[in-house]
Amino acid sequence: MSAAELDYIKPELMACCGAREIRDGDLVIVGTGFPSVAANIAKYTHAPNARMMQESGVYDAQPKRPALSVGDPCLNPGAAFIGSLIDVMGMFLQGGKVDVGFLSGSQVDKYGNINTTVIGDYGNPKSRLPGSGGANPIGLLAKRVLIIALHDKRRLAERVDFITTPGYIDGPGARAKWGLPEDQGPEVIITNKAVLRFDKETKEAYLESYHPGNTVEEILENTPWDLKVAPDVHETPPPTAEELRAIREIIDPMRMITIYLKRGYV
């Protein structure tokens, strides 16, 4: 596997970064793509008791092909529980049972606020996006939120055009004003260049590690705010043989993850 190790693609590394945030026994609400791959890597490596659910109402699905949506047919046969949106979004998420939620967005800002609603003016949009879906409640109610983003000055923002899903809103204390637990919220932004982690005090994302092949300078140039750099900033550990084996042999033998290359995750 050592040759293959050198051979990984960025989306694989990003999925591994997500997987490493998941602890054994975590309940993870996943969508499709990255989140699903990441949660499964964790399950097949260090977190065998992690369990996944989809907002559509499915818990512990046993898909025989990668799900292409949270309502995908392959999520039905073999699941442990299939209920309704109310069951997953109400009973499990609003009920405080979900440990980890994955989110992505067209814009993500330094406080982890996410925009999936509109680019430009809401009433007169430059670009209209899908809207919240389950993102807003997942961002507010999951204990730890992992954000996936493309690393450029268009996707990362000092301040998003529209807060669809609050991260730390405008900084320390803002979540508490709304009765949200202070110890919940975004953990990391995993980009195609780096892992940004949120500072417990300032609630701002800082550079924790740069991916192999990327540099701190390049990352600072491509981040539209004055990105703080961790004193112990380091290279992101590449995927391990075990992680790559889980991806390639078990989770995604058809290599559907390669579609992220076309979407710019290089």
Binding site: T32, E55, S56, G57, V58, L68, S69, V70, G71, D72, P73, L75, N76, P77, I82, G83, S84, L85, I86, M89, G90, L93, Q94, T117, Y122, P125, K126, S127, R128, L129, P130, G131, S132, G133, G134, A135, N136, P137, L140, L141, F162, I163, T164, T165, P166, I169, A174, R175, K177, W178, G179, L180
Partner: protein
């Protein structure tokens, strides 16, 4: 007292211009045959709702029939963004719909509140987001922040929704309307039961006796139902568990067509206006793409274990 009728009759009799429609489905069991018939009949000024809308809502918007949309999300998922939805909001083509936006927690809760006769319901989402800063046709009634009378904390409450008509597609129903589903439910049960009238379209009509063999599967009882339409492949290009898979080829075809106004209109001409009902639609599908492609959608056999309700 059979309520069995054709889709044409069901839509003619029970969907009216200006109605507020809940349309069930979640890729799973999308009532596509009903959507097409609504477009054929040109029912207009509709208010539509469901959590996580997709191609069916995009098509209604593109066809110009939607005035208002109580939304959480609209995307074609793996195929991309909803182009008709975007053209409407970005360019006012064919006209700009009015949008009231919630989430996949609050909207199902509002439908549940409607179904359960509750005036409003507290929710924990949306706070701190711009979703609270944009209000459309619901105005100040989009939500309220009240003081929790038990602990004094600020609490968001959202109003109950009560659609005029719900349209759902289910695996099976009897002629009276007792409707049974299994697999991903989305917000179908609460949405249907929140509505004044329910139109049930189904893969198969079964006897009342078969319903009674497993009554825990029923999500809508007959007394809520005004029409039952037997419509095999009624959810195509979506899927129905136990019956057929998603048709990715066709979903992609719609996405590509809807990329342009012209393409979208040609798609409607071919697949909606150009066929008189779902039978003609499937006939056209088979003629165009071949029976093998059609046959490829059919579900495998993988049956559950039977259970008994006896004593």
């Amino acid at each position: 007292m059979s309520k069995v009728m054709t889709m044409k009759e069901a839509i003619e009799r029970f969907v009216h211009d200006g109605d507020f429609l809940f349309i069930g489905g979640y890729i799973c069991r999308t009532p596509f045959a009903a959507i097409h018939e609504i477009i054929r009949q040109g029912k207009k000024d509709l208010t539509i709702t469901r959590s996580n809308a997709a191609d069916d809502f995009d098509m209604l918007i593109g066809a110009g029939l939607v005035k208002r949309f109580i939304a959480t999300f609209l995307s074609l998922g793996v195929y991309g963004l909803g182009r008709c939805f975007r053209r409407s909001l970005e360019k006012g083509i064919p006209h700009k719909i009015e949008l009231e936006e919630y989430t996949n927690l609050s909207l199902p809760m509002m439908l549940m509140a409607g179904a359960l006769g509750m005036p409003f319901i507290p929710v924990k989402d949306m706070v701190g987001s711009d979703l609270l800063n944009v209000k459309s046709f619901m105005g100040e009634d989009k939500y309220k922040v009240i003081v929790n009378p038990f602990d004094g904390t600020p609490t968001l409450v959202v109003p109950a929704l009560k659609p005029d008509v719900a349209i759902i597609h289910v695996q099976q129903a009897d002629e009276h309307g007792n409707a049974q589903v299994w697999g991903i439910e989305g917000d179908c049960k609460w949405g249907a039961n929140a509505a004044e009238k329910v139109i049930v379209t189904c893969e198969r009509i079964v006897s009342r006796e078969i319903i009674g063999k497993d009554p825990s599967r029923t999500i809508v009882p007959d007394f809520r139902v005004v029409a039952v339409v037997e419509e095999p492949f009624g959810a195509h290009p979506g899927y129905t568990p136990g019956f057929y898979d998603v048709d990715f080829m066709f979903g992609s075809l719609y996405q590509q067509a809807s990329n342009t106004e012209e393409g979208f209109r040609a798609f409607l001409e071919e697949w909606v206006y150009g066929v008189e009902d779902r039978t003609a639609y499937i006939q056209h599908y088979i003629e165009k793409f071949g029976y093998a492609q059609f046959r490829g959608l059919w579900a495998d056999f993988d049956y559950s274990y039977p259970v008994s309700y006896a004593y």
